[in-house]
Symmetry: C2
Subunit: 438 residues, 2 copies
């Protein structure tokens, strides 16, 4: 079964994912050898500081600060350091020396993926990255392999556990945004600097990776339309709940028709949106992740699981490691990205979506007619309207008007809201949220 020579595996980084990967490699060595047809030998673990405390106890002689020497003598290099440098330089060294590389580094792939995949292609090495999106959930390989004969139309994911945790606390427990963020921080769901999470940068990095696999088109992270959750209020969440919706931070990559050329194009965007409570994504609680995929033939699919965590992410790394090792033993195609389609990326104004618009309006006759005429001017049709009569809380004599629109071009919806904000009868635009998942 294991006539093939041992395969030397280098680990770069011994944080929580690196430590758990090392543990799984050592503990399951015999079973892995049966599955691969060769033994996976942990050649070493490159760290910055030999005396740091680790999550998992490994034999001291495995640690080294000489990453270059370790890479040079390995068949497969697993980069779990995070950050751009020196991770990028080490991956380039590894690929150039002919090693296959596994990484969970979404930031690096989002910034330098094009360069790294091109290099891997040129030297005939492979770059695997299942752990970079939604941690433990097998999503990249199904997109690339299982749906390879289908045509994907939309990928819509809850791919950031921290923001899902915060929104879920607000929705299910009525926590304020501040309390929810504090709980998330205490439970380790949120980094000390939460900007990457709450402003949607992390989700934007992941959507570039999903878009590249679903649509065979590279999307620079700077081109992803992005709104975070900092503007989401408890009032919005409560109103959504009453209307049968839940607010989720969605990372969406979608196939569209380019209105100029009539040809296929794509959109990549991140924003908080309403989805129906009946939608499978609505039941993704706490820090869990899920990716909902719509394909022409397969219909709707969902992939659900842990989107973070050391050992959970290590599971995805190990899957890639077995794939890379099998390729050493048996040859064959790897997980290279393929950007043959190279579809144009449309701005967010070109997408089709629905809006829920909440207005504070003067409580006088003719207000609804005035508001409706603004929508009509922009070609936006109304699906439903809810007007509340002023009550004791409305001492200023204003009423609340909630308008749900039919699907329309985002640009028309945005222009509608802009005009509504300045007409006389509207005192304030309290909330504008998109509706997804229809």
């Amino acid at each position: 079964m294991t006539d093939y020579r041992n395969l030397r595996v280098a680990l770069l980084g011994a944080g929580s994912v690196g430590s758990q990967t090392a543990r799984l490699l050592l503990e399951h060595a015999d079973e892995l050898a049966s599955r691969v047809g060769a033994r996976l030998e942990l050649a070493g673990v490159a760290v910055r500081n030999l005396s740091a405390t680790r999550d998992v106890q490994l034999p001291a002689e495995l640690y080294t600060t000489d990453a270059e020497a370790l890479i040079e003598s390995s068949d497969i290099v697993v980069e779990l350091m995070g950050g751009i440098e020196p991770a990028r330089t080490y991956i380039i060294q590894a690929l150039t020396s002919g090693a296959d590389v596994i990484t969970a580094n979404k930031a690096l792939l989002a910034e330098h993926g094009t360069e790294l995949f091109a290099l891997a292609d040129r030297v005939g090495a492979q770059l695997y990255y299942e752990a970079s999106v939604a941690a433990a959930i097998p999503i990249l390989r199904p997109l690339r392999d299982s749906l390879a004969g289908d045509r994907i139309n939309r990928v819509m994911g809850i791919v950031n556990g921290s923001t899902n945790y915060i929104l879920d606390r607000m929705d299910r427990y009525g926590d304020s945004a501040e309390d929810a963020a504090q709980t998330a921080l205490e439970l380790g769901f949120l980094e000390a600097d939460p900007t990457l999470d709450v402003e949607g940068f992390d989700a934007a990095q992941k959507v570039t990776i999903l878009a590249s696999l679903a649509f065979h088109t590279r999307v620079p992270v700077s081109a992803v339309y992005r709104e975070g959750i900092t503007g989401v209020t408890l009032d919005q969440i409560r109103a959504a709940k009453n209307a049968g919706y839940v607010i989720k931070l969605l990372a969406i990559a979608e196939r569209l028709t380019d209105p100029e050329t009539g040809a296929d194009a794509i959109s990549a965007r991140v924003y908080p949106a309403l989805i129906s409570r009946e939608h499978p994504l609505a039941s993704v609680y706490e820090g869990k992740n899920a990716v909902f995929v719509e394909a022409e033939a397969a219909g709707s699919l969902m992939f659900y699981g842990a989107g973070a965590g050391g050992v959970e992410t290590a599971s995805a790394v190990m899957g890639d490691l077995v794939s890379a090792a099998r390729r050493h033993v048996a040859g064959g195609p790897g997980l290279a990205q393929n950007a043959h389609a190279d579809l144009p990326l449309l701005p967010v104004g070109a997408i089709n979506t629905r809006y829920h618009i909440t207005l504070r309006v003067a409580d006088e006759p003719g207000v609804l007619a005035r508001v409706a005429s603004v929508l009509a001017t922009h070609g936006v049709s109304v699906e439903n309207v809810l007007q509340t009569v002023p009550d004791a809380a409305d001492a200023d004599g204003t009423a609340t008007l909630v308008i749900g629109t039919h699907t329309a071009r985002e640009a028309a919806l945005a222009a509608t809201v802009k005009e509504l904000a300045v007409i006389g009868v509207v005192r304030a635009v309290s909330s504008v949220l998109r509706v997804e998942g229809i």
Copy 2:
């Protein structure tokens, strides 16, 4: 991009899956060529009757009744005829002639998988079968590849859409079992002979395939413990709903410890069971399928989507077709089963589970103590008890006692129920259901 020679694809069968596969092959020919690096040429479609009406119009010259000649001249053979013969003979011919084979035929794999995988192995051909379980949902490839470096402990699936549709109608709409089955039949969810579905045979075939991939162990379908849904009553479903549960037909493959040897063993079983409404499987409605996977490192994962349908199943067939074609172009490992672990299969009595037992008891002092002593004798501990006082409906003076047990060995639970049935204070055992998903 497509320097490689054309690959000839034979389709056996032109039913709903076959017709849709042919359509996708022809409509997406250019895109498939880009993805594979070779053109996939539909060499022909073998049918029994040239003049039958088809779902999809194909050029008449593609149809042939000479399956043998078509197979002989093809690189990849896609068997979508169903049934055991002549499908088995054709697959043997195809593999023997060196062609890779794709099949959606779960019945054939459950009965003759061992023989067919051994043949494929011997001749160096590949047998792909993603479409055989849960149709469009990518589940076999993630189990084999993505989780290859992890250790799967349990696979628990809703893998039969017809029975899920019936149970869901009963649960969400209060339909009787007969009405729900009638609706399922009218909507095409149920075959004219529903035995394979409602008695759990279809799910049992699928659990053998899941078990073989999750545990690297072949399980004969005859060894799967199986209960269908014909005994599930609306009363049980209502009582489950009141207690926060839903009843689903679950196909379970699980890693256990063999009590005799202390070594790993597995269980494969199909039965209706209670699961908590908070469990992700509880939100799998209508004819949808989902497979919930628990792995040591990855934690809990769920794969959700369409479990039937011509075009949905064709999506999975196409994914296999692209994999097979890429292997022709680039070489490398295929999807062969690997039964290296060869774990023993334990009888259902050896599993650990929980019971919900509903009894009609005499309404007199000391009943609970008598019942509790029976449980204690068998080492079964009680998690909760609900005793209802007799009301107008209980004209016979009996009360209802619902006992939820803690986890115990199935054999002990079964013995407990057997003894409860014959003690004096128990008038009848109204319902016994297992609880899963904890």
